[in-house]
């Protein structure tokens, strides 16, 4: 992909251009933009890997797909240290209360990415008596990454969508995050 085609950081570049046009070398920009720039490029994911999708996620950490290039390579195994809950693999009825508890333990602001068909709708196990038919019934989901398992490229795309979402937030003033309440049972 050519540099110009990758529109991810264009607002930053515009900002820099604007500043330079006015001859400023001290940035007095909106603090929000800076915070969001920082946050979106250091997304720490908290992994809840239960099944096949988790193995495919491991390849992202290895050399060929190297996710460190995009600023989300730090993975944590404690909910206290994560920004985003990555649900990798089937969530069963027995696991569901635990997933909810882990989500509750994440510090705000927090995000959820549902990876794989299983987390989106139950996937191949939709007819099972012991599988949750979509984790969005339990926790609010920000990004869905379909696939069984998703290809590494799809993981990237999904996580970049999350980064874009983070960039649009207001840290100061206003409500930070308007999330629909999870569906009550």
């Amino acid at each position: 992909m050519k540099y110009e085609e990758f529109k991810n950081n264009d607002y930053l570049e515009n900002m820099v251009k604007e500043l330079q046009a006015n001859g400023v070398n001290v940035a007095v920009s909106k603090l929000d933009d800076l915070i969001n720039w920082g946050r979106s490029n250091s997304v720490w994911s908290f992994l809840l890997g239960t099944s096949c999708c988790a193995i495919e996620f491991m390849t992202l950490g290895a050399a060929r797909y190297d996710m460190a290039r995009f600023g989300f390579e730090v993975t944590r195994n404690s909910p206290r240290q994560g920004d985003v809950l990555l649900v990798l693999g089937t969530i069963t009825n027995k696991m569901a209360p635990l997933m909810k508890r882990l989500y509750d333990q994440l510090a705000e602001p927090k995000y959820v990415v549902a990876v794989g068909g299983c987390t989106i709708s139950g996937g191949p196990f939709k007819k099972s008596y012991h599988v949750v038919k979509g984790i969005d019934k339990i926790v609010p989901v920000d990004v869905y990454i379909p696939g069984c398992p998703p290809r590494p490229e799809a993981f990237y795309y999904g996580l970049m969508q999350l980064q874009r979402k983070i960039k649009l937030e207001h840290f100061f003033g206003g409500v930070n995050r308007k999330q629909p309440k999870p569906i009550e049972e």
């Binding site: 809840l48 390849t59 290895a62 069963t92 696991m95 196990f125 398992p149 049972e185």
Partner: protein, 539 residues
């Protein structure tokens, strides 16, 4: 003496069924006596209990016991049942084979059959407050709503004993004493290789007892199978043990082909065998990476994944999938080999042979590794057999159990390879078995890769396959042990019961024995060296 005569003299009036597998139907009253006699038989002691398959035959509830002798490798199936559906009781064989403890728990969980004499009759996969037993044919799938309350685990188990006069007595066994210091590991833990939960009682740093809690990834695949047609059931096997995807699917395809009388082409056999071995190398490389990662090393993790990616790329070109490939089909394989397949495989083997020394240099001889693996987590040969710990774990304890050698399938009777057996039974031996098996797998592939015959890669089959009534089974050597398929057909287009032998369940069960007296820090390394995959345990 013929096994049929032997059983007939043991239990007068025993019936035999011979549609597919040979099954001896033994009344529950004399079952334990017959099982004991077979277990301690002089000529070929049936000392390996492959699996217990709970069954609901409508009128009766019961179980099938698949036995094998580790000396002669003869196999036999026993069947026993009870007509009491309200309060079904069967005699336990947990005093003869240790693995029966956990397999009978599974049958209790799914069918509600209580085994008298089993010290542990808790549920194993489903929540303890689950209502009903889902594998019964009359189970209502809607009867358990999603329960978002936390589960409370009992610390006491119940043993049922049937007295001679027909009364039932209960006895309590304590899993954890009230003042035991219990540490909870998992189910959300990076080093339990999936959603496994272990409750560990500690005395200082020393492990006193490990109690595995399974079922966090129980998807009810076997129950789903009962409403799927045979070609549809294939899709779910890849999701059992995703690092043995080809091998598991190979087993199921073979079972259906054998039962339906479908003959596959020589080319398909070559392709299947080569793919199985590539998968084994893939899995063992991941094993290496994970073991290292669990012990705190990071660089070797990249080594393992570097070569694994090469295999994934070869597979992807032919099958279209990286991890889940859905490649084996009834009658052959889904697509022909990619034109570059042979060239790339040969390149890979050359590369791998030239680079494996790096693996050993950085890890195998390392002083931290040897002190943390050698002499740690020892499993004796007797225990390995009694637990049914097949695969690399059993072979590290000196039990020669390779299905490829003793019950050859595919092309394994035509190729020359060595069965890797170590005798130490510790974590290091388990590690070395896998590393040596990588070399053997490459040897097998080299013998086949240039001789793949021309021909059909798949014979045409009907979209709806009906299998004649009977019981059929096949087993393969998957990346981590004996994977077997047990099928009972009643002549329909869907299976009456399709059960898979989990390779990991006996390993998790044996964890308690291997870890007692070891340090808590080594628990993770012992688990990693056993190399279980949880979705295959919970199914």
């Amino acid at each position: 003496m013929d096994i049929k005569d032997k059983i007939s003299t043991l239990v007068p009036g025993v019936e035999f069924k011979e549609q597919g597998d040979l099954i001896a139907v033994i009344p529950a009253a004399s079952f334990h006596r017959a099982a004991e006699a077979l277990r301690y038989d002089k000529e070929d002691a049936m000392d390996y209990l492959r699996d217990i398959v709970g069954m609901d035959w409508g009128e009766t509830l019961g179980a099938l016991y698949y036995l094998e002798s580790t000396t002669t490798h003869a196999r036999i199936v026993l069947r026993t049942e009870t007509a009491d559906r309200e309060n079904p009781l069967l005699p336990s064989v947990s005093d003869l084979w240790k693995t029966a403890v956990i397999k009978e728990r599974e049958a209790f969980d799914f069918f509600g059959i209580r085994f008298t004499g089993n010290p542990d009759m808790r549920r194993i996969f489903l929540r303890e407050d689950w209502v009903g037993h889902p594998f019964r044919k009359d189970y209502d799938e809607k009867s358990n709503e999603l329960n978002m309350n936390n589960e409370v685990n009992a610390d006491v188990t119940t043993e049922y004993t049937l007295k001679a006069d027909g009364t039932l007595t209960t006895e309590k066994h304590v899993v954890f004493e009230p003042d035991d210091f219990v540490v909870n590991v998992g189910p959300q833990h990076p080093s339990t290789h999936g959603a496994l939960r272990l409750r560990v009682a500690l005395d200082g740093e020393t492990v006193k007892r490990v109690d595995p809690v399974c079922g966090y990834i129980h998807r009810g695949i076997e129950k789903m199978n009962e409403s799927l047609t045979y070609p549809q059931t294939l899709a779910l096997t890849d999701r059992l043990d995703y690092l043995s995807a080809h091998q598991s699917r190979h087993a199921l395809c073979m079972c259906i082909e054998q039962a339906a009388g479908i003959e596959i082409s020589e080319r398909a056999k070559y392709i299947r065998t080569i793919m199985d071995e590539l998968q084994r190398i893939d899995s063992h490389l991941l094993f290496y990476s994970c073991l290292v990662l669990d012990m705190g090393g990071f660089t070797p993790f990249f080594y393992g994944f570097r070569e694994r990616e090469m295999i994934l790329q070869i597979m992807e070109e032919t099958t279209g999938g990286r991890l889940i490939q859905n490649y084996n089909m009834i009658g052959g394989v889904q697509a022909d080999l990619h034109p570059d397949f042979q060239k790339k495989v040969k390149e890979f083997i050359k590369h791998m042979r030239g680079i494996i020394h790096e693996y050993h240099e950085i890890f195998t001889g390392n002083v931290i590794v040897t002190t943390r693996l050698k002499g740690v987590g020892v499993l004796s040969k007797e225990d390995a057999i009694s637990f049914g710990a097949t695969g690399g774990t059993g072979r590290a304890s000196g039990w020669a159990n390779d299905v490829r050698k003793h019950h050859p399938y595919g092309l394994y009777d035509k190729v020359d390879f060595k069965e890797i057996v170590y005798t130490e039974g510790d974590s290091f031996a388990r590690y070395m078995v896998r590393m040596d098996e990588i070399m053997e797998s490459m040897k097998i592939i080299e013998q086949l890769i240039d001789n793949i015959p021309e021909g059909e890669y798949r014979v045409k089959t009907k979209p709806i396959i009906r299998i004649p009534e009977g019981n059929y089974s096949t087993s393969v050597e998957s990346s981590r042990g004996e994977f077997a398929v047990f099928l009972e057909s009643h002549g329909d287009k869907t299976p009456y019961r399709l059960h898979y032998r989990s390779t990991g369940l006996p390993l998790v069960h044996a964890l308690d024995t291997a870890c007692r007296g070891q340090k808590i820090a080594d628990l993770i390394a012992i688990g990693a060296s056993m190399d279980f995959v949880i979705p295959d345990i919970d199914r």
